[in-house]
């Protein structure tokens, strides 16, 4: 799928203490592809939200579970896949958050998936052999 393009990998535990490291990892490679500052900050945020959702929802805040991040690019796109072995996300059951209603109910959360969809050009959820994958693409 990558056509012999460049590919990089990082494996971390399911802990929010690694968030900055994961953001910096994708930002560094996005920069090397020549993306704009705005696009790099969009990718940082999308990856942060996806990894945070894995920690909170797939692994329900259980620490030390594996999360693998892969990033690759070719002439037309940069893609990032994040994989976990936790509970899978069901995109069909997801509804965009009504922020006003959430504020009234003093709820938080539910915004990450919405942000990822806004920030990236393509988002796909796959599950294969007990592994969940979110694949996010930015067109170059």
């Amino acid at each position: 799928m990558t056509n012999g393009s460049n590919k990089y990998q990082l494996t971390v535990d399911s802990s929010t203490k690694h968030l900055a490291e994961v953001r910096d990892f994708v930002a560094e490679h996005a920069q090397s592809v020549g993306l704009s500052e705005k696009e790099i900050s969009e990718i940082r945020l999308a990856v942060d939200e996806a990894y945070t959702n894995i920690i909170k929802h797939a692994y329900k805040n259980t620490p030390s579970r594996p999360v693998q991040i892969e990033l690759g690019f070719d002439h037309s796109q940069l893609w990032i896949s994040i994989m976990d072995q936790g509970e899978s996300f069901k995109p069909d059951e997801y509804k965009a958050p009504d922020i006003l209603k959430r504020i009234k109910n003093k709820q938080r959360g539910g915004m990450g998936v919405f942000l990822i969809q806004k920030l990236m050009d393509q988002v796909q959820y796959n599950r294969k052999g007990g592994i969940n994958e979110i694949r996010m693409v930015k067109n170059l």
Partner: protein
């Protein structure tokens, strides 16, 4: 790890929180503790100055969502000021500018109470 800190100032009856660094699911609890402690101290006029905030994820916005109703119900508000464009863009994507008082300048926010 680097990356997030909060300092508190008082301008008359307005409490100003200066937030710096990166606000994400790891650091959001620090903001939450600061807001809680202001509310416990009956300080409901709150300005969060974001001039040194480099980054925010939705976990950071979630903290503001969790407390704004309480603070407004007690006659106060949480006003946000001095955001850079990248940080503002995240609030904007989620429609916060119609729900929160987001201002360019801290002075304007303090005097607006």
């Amino acid at each position: 790890m680097k990356n997030f800190s909060i300092a508190k100032r008082q301008i008359n009856d307005v409490s100003v929180l200066d937030v710096s660094g990166e606000l994400d699911a790891h650091t959001a609890s620090q903001l939450e503790n600061s807001l809680k402690s202001l509310i416990d101290d009956q300080r409901f006029r709150i300005v969060v100055n974001c001039s040194r905030l480099d980054y925010i994820a939705s976990a950071g916005l979630g903290v503001f969502m969790a407390y704004i109703e309480d603070v407004r119900g007690l006659g106060g508000d949480i006003k946000l000021t001095n955001m850079n464009d990248r940080v503002y863009n995240v609030f904007d994507l989620l429609g916060f500018p119609t729900l929160y008082d987001i201002l360019d300048d801290e002075k304007e926010a303090v005097e607006g109470f």
